[in-house]
């Protein structure tokens, strides 16, 4: 069955609404895009949309109670919420290094979750 999917291209301010037609996963036609970037974008968003996930995890004994983390590279979009959820139960011990692996191979994606800033231990607390 031929089906239509719509994507808004995010690559330039023009924000083309790109229509992608497919049948059983086979891309038949892409239209509405003003340039080639839009087509590529729509096809990727259809076949394998990915997002870099950013959230925080809890830290014990740090200058702050949480540290920001991110997947080292984008993961499948459908896993975004689940990645955040599994990270909710993580609690690190300060100090945290920049780039420290917080969770390797998150949800079997092959992608590590890393800390995106260093977080020193609390000495006298913050001023």
């Amino acid at each position: 069955m031929r089906r239509k999917h719509e994507f808004i291209c995010i690559n330039c301010p023009l924000s083309c609404t790109v229509e992608l037609f497919e049948e059983d996963g086979e891309v038949l036609e892409v239209r509405g895009n003003e340039c080639a970037v839009g087509e590529k974008y729509a096809v990727t968003e259809f076949r394998d949309p990915r997002r870099r996930v950013t959230t925080t995890v809890r830290v014990r004994g740090g200058v702050l109670p949480v540290v920001p983390v991110a997947t080292a590279s984008p993961v499948p979009k459908r896993l975004v919420r689940e990645v955040v959820r599994v990270l909710a139960s993580v609690e690190l011990e300060a100090p945290v290094e920049m780039g420290q692996v917080v969770m390797p191979d998150v949800l079997g994606t092959g992608v590590d979750v890393i800390a995106t800033r260093p977080l020193p231990s609390a000495r006298k607390g913050r001023g």
């Binding site: 808004i8 301010p13 200058v63 949480v66 920001p68 991110a70 260093p118």
Partner: protein, 422 residues
């Protein structure tokens, strides 16, 4: 409060603007660079912007806010820049005298060779947009909510309505959702979204959060804590349309209704502000109307990309070094004027006229298939095509140095329909 300190330059604020300016000033040869920050760490707003999308121009790489900040922080830490954390500047005088205060040194008086203003911007509050209703707990600006969630690990609310579709509002819609809160919707008074398309797609569409254009919040309910808000459609004059009101139950109203350059110190120093940007009038060195006081980043005009903040910071830092070194020379005074479909341009004037200048501007209204042109005394000196320009996205243009070499009276930046397409 012992002796008066006389460093080469004092940079006020250590967000991306201050970090960039301090580093540039130091790299341009100034020995004593003092970076004053009121927070307990460097980075300004960046440490709380944990999402990615920073640095695609400066580093040709997409980074998160903390990662972007860290690249500068590491360099500052190795650079010999004197960093004063938890330090608040109380006074800045036209003669560049700075009075600051902190817990360790008490009252600090400084008479620097130059000052760089890098205080950033602050958020417009509910009263500045005059939302009627009660004044309960649970009404919070998007940036403040972002800090609470991402830095303090606190949840401002569980059932959230967001007013304003600026980028921070969209980013926070996603952030609240990921933390398990329910975002009922984002309401935008204009008939087009305020944020970047990327954020519309990745923050709202990805999570099926509805965006209601031409809508606003007309009443906040709840005496102690927000219990609900009334939302309504607005007409072409942004006035609520009677009969379209709807009650939305929520415990939190998040406001993303605009940013204002933070210029309280600039005013104390007598720096002339621009009526449209709300920030100092600057020249191509980012020098303000007060000699030796420079400004960069969001204190000058609220930028959409941190990369541009960094660029203006580098210009200001180098400018301060030129000034302190006695090399800064004015050859004239040429206004840079907004032309067709241009709301404002930064810098607003040129005085050195001896170098290539980057201009940053915003358009007045969305327009497709355009040419962005810079005219020097009526003659186009640079032009580029753009498929689309929109008010939320800043546009960059440049003037080649040679175009400024002769007698120049004015520079105009304009956006015109692309003739080939028309």
């Amino acid at each position: 409060m012992s002796r008066t300190w006389k460093p080469d330059v004092v940079v006020i604020g250590a967000g991306p603007a201050g970090l960039g300016a301090a580093l540039a000033a130091r790299e341009a040869g100034l020995r004593e660079v003092v970076l004053v920050e009121r927070d307990f760490e460097l980075g300004g707003i960046l440490p709380q912007c944990i999402h990615d999308g920073f640095g695609s121009i400066v580093f040709e790489q997409v980074l998160t806010g903390p990662e972007y900040a860290q690249r500068f922080i590491e360099r500052v830490e190795r650079s010999g820049i004197e960093v004063l954390l938890d330090t608040m500047v109380l006074e800045l005088r036209p003669d560049r005298r700075v009075v600051a205060v902190n817990s360790r040194d008490g009252v600090l008086e400084m008479e620097p060779g130059a000052v760089v203003l890098a205080m950033g911007c602050r958020e417009r509050t509910r009263h500045q947009v005059l939302i009627p209703g009660f004044r309960p707990a649970g009404v919070i600006c998007a940036g403040a909510a972002q800090r609470e969630i991402n830095i303090e690990g606190l949840m401002p609310g569980h059932r959230v309505v967001i007013l304003g579709s600026g980028d921070i509002g969209l980013i926070m819609a996603r952030r609240f959702t990921l933390e398990g809160a329910e975002v009922e919707g984002v309401y935008e008074i204009m008939d087009y979204p305020g944020g970047l398309t990327r954020n519309l797609v990745q923050c709202l569409h990805d999570f099926q959060i509805p965006l209601h254009l031409s809508h606003t919040v007309t009443f906040i309910h709840g005496r102690k804590r927000v219990e609900a808000v009334t939302v309504a459609r607005v007409d072409g004059n942004r006035k609520p349309v009677p009969g379209t009101e709807r009650l939305v139950e929520c415990d939190t109203l998040v406001l993303s209704v605009g940013l204002i350059p933070e210029n309280e110190l600039s005013k104390k120093a007598g720096v002339a502000l621009h009526p449209v940007t709300g920030g100092p009038v600057v020249d191509e060195l980012m020098e303000t109307s007060v000699e030796g006081i420079f400004a960069c980043g969001n204190v000058v005009s609220v930028f959409d990309l941190v990369d541009y903040v960094t660029f203006t910071a580098q210009v200001a830092g180098r400018g301060a070094a030129e000034f302190v070194g006695g090399r800064r020379r004015h050859r004239g005074e040429v206004p840079v004027k907004p032309g067709r479909n241009v709301r404002f341009v930064v810098p607003q004037r040129l005085r050195c006229l001896d170098r290539e200048v980057e201009l940053y501007f915003r358009v007045e209204r969305p327009e497709k298939s355009v040419q962005v042109r810079v005219l020097v005394d009526g003659k186009p000196v640079s032009s580029k095509k753009a498929r689309m320009v929109r008010p939320p996205e800043m546009v960059r243009a440049s003037i080649p140095a040679e175009a400024l070499s002769g007698q120049v009276r004015e520079v105009v930046v304009e956006v015109v329909p692309d003739e080939k397409e028309a």
